[in-house]
Symmetry: C2
Subunit: 348 residues, 2 copies
């Protein structure tokens, strides 16, 4: 299951609105003979990718999959049929499919004579808090998971008194943040950040080139976005969310699972005040500024008892900086960011 979860990360930023699933096929002797992750919409599900690469070696074997195999005819046939046709003896899955249209796979498989087992509780927990968590959040709450990301000095400043902000954090943090951009579906900044920085908002590789997976780039606010703004790009993956209301902005993004709010302070404050920040990625540099723009403003808190409370899920030293992963109480996530892996299409 750990391997199935790991491979599912390669589907992040690619598979939405489908869930990022990972699957591993073992032959009757327990050898790994196929691995797969969800392809882009219209492409194959993880089970099919893994079974395609396993071929006849799957017969009598086991498939381990992070999500209950689907049981419906969407753009692709049901995975349950493929599992039965492949002659698999056993299915082990972690998370039950919460989608009423696609669920019921476990029951169908059992009726077809396939042994079906749930993973153990730790594995289910790891699958729920891993790459699947944003998609599950959307199923449960009808809106995407929202992660607020910021890079600040120790004293919470995102720019110095003269507005200078490049770079507060070091190259290791920036590389980490660019890897994260490849794992989400859409990235939102406010019009203030647009005016101040004219950011590209693309995910870039270590050598500064565009990464293979790119999120939607969105600017939220009523001010117009200039025709020559860098964020527009040429790939059609730009959206202007002409609203001041965070919930409405999320709606305008369509069927995305994971949204990254990257600033500035007022945008972060608006999402916090609306109760729409589920996770925080804080990159803190070992610097003290003592003046300049703070990471958040207008979060609607006037007294300590009304503070927006989170839980620390992990701390990681990134070069000279420290990265804090937090969630709203009750939500879980891995203590460190998923490391993006090259999409895996079967064993190598």
């Amino acid at each position: 299951m750990a391997r199935a979860i790991a491979v599912s990360a390669s589907a992040l930023g690619v598979c939405t609105p489908n869930p990022p699933v990972g699957a591993v096929v073992l032959d009757a002797a327990g050898e790994v003979v196929g691995i797969g992750a969800t392809e882009a919409p219209g492409g194959r599900h993880a089970e099919v990718v893994a079974l395609d690469s396993a071929g006849d070696r799957a017969r009598g074997g086991t498939i381990v999959v992070t999500l209950e195999p689907c049981d419906h005819h969407g753009r692709t046939g049901p995975c349950t049929s493929r599992i039965v046709a492949a002659g698999l003896a056993r299915v082990v899955y972690a998370v039950s499919d919460p989608n009423p249209v696609a669920s019921g796979g476990a029951g169908t498989l059992r009726r077809e004579g396939v042994e079906v087992a749930r993973a153990d509780d730790d594995e289910v927990g790891a699958a729920r808090s891993g790459p699947l968590r944003a998609w599950l959040h959307r199923q449960d709450h009808g809106r995407p998971l929202v992660t607020w990301k910021y890079a600040a000095s120790l004293d919470g400043r995102v720019a110095a008194a003269d507005g200078s902000s490049k770079w507060i954090t070091g190259p290791v943090s920036r590389r980490h943040a660019h890897a994260r951009r490849q794992e989400i579906d859409a990235l939102v900044v406010g019009t203030g950040t647009l005016r101040a920085d004219d950011p590209a908002l693309t995910a870039r590789t270590d050598d500064g080139r565009p990464a293979p997976r790119q999120p939607l780039r969105a600017v939220m606010g009523l001010s117009p976005v200039p025709a020559d703004a860098t964020v527009r790009g040429t790939d059609g993956r730009f959206r202007h969310l002409a609203t001041r209301d965070p919930a409405e902005a999320l709606g305008l993004l369509g069927e995305v699972s994971h949204v990254l709010v990257e600033g500035g302070p007022r945008l972060a404050g608006a999402f916090l005040a609306a109760g729409l920040v589920d996770e925080i990625d804080a990159y803190l540099a070992p610097l003290v500024l003592g003046a300049g723009r703070s990471a958040v403003s207008g979060a609607g808190v006037d007294t300590l008892a009304a503070a927006h409370g989170f839980r620390i899920r992990g701390t990681t030293v990134l070069g000279d900086d420290v990265h804090l992963c937090l969630t709203r109480p009750g939500l879980t996530r891995p203590a460190t960011a998923t490391t993006p892996t090259a999409p895996t299409r079967g064993p190598r």
Copy 2:
């Protein structure tokens, strides 16, 4: 040596202006027969405490000590004489005594026929960056080591918009901070904090009672300190440092080794601007406020390139909070705070 370093922590906050030294005596067979740490001024040095508890069992044995044994007649006789008189065969020490009055112990011991060895480089490093570091800093720089401590929200606020600040961090962090107060010599706040909070500035135990070791309590600034201010206490350990200049304030504290600057924002800014912050203890709560007093103001930084730069030496999760240990580049310290131990006076 690790045990000698650990026991030396019990001398912190007690032994100043003497160094917090730890010593372990092994008999000829290598069994531990005595342990000691520096006593209060006028009391015994660590070597003597350890030798007193070892008695005759020290003969032919080894003493392991964090600092080169002293060779001068101060308020106590030279440790070198006691080591020779005890019949020890071997001395292992970590840090050479930088004090010209007391140094030369290693040479004296060798002339008396005692084998003298330096600890290995890792042990020397651990001793230098451990409990001895503040005393060594004073020897090297002629001024105490200064640690700035603050407790803030994720976005660097030390109070909410209405001034409420109790408690931003949780009970585990507060207990940790009170333990730290027992390891330093003096604690400084500004007159603004005095007016806002009327703090006691005492070190307290888990049940709220005064701890056995108490730092000097100092208020810095030109405003008068009211006669009924809680900080004055009744133990004579209060100082009003009537200056706005951090260097002058440190001078007024006398021969202390380790000073803790606890706020508020302007005092922290003044010490930072003067280049007089050597270490930072940051307690960050998983809260977002978005408004209210920031941890620092007036640090003299107008652009990012002029930021006060530090190095992260360790991160520790304390209950719901995270504690970051930082130093100025070039300085070292343990990644986690020294845990105060009961003063040890020989083996138990």
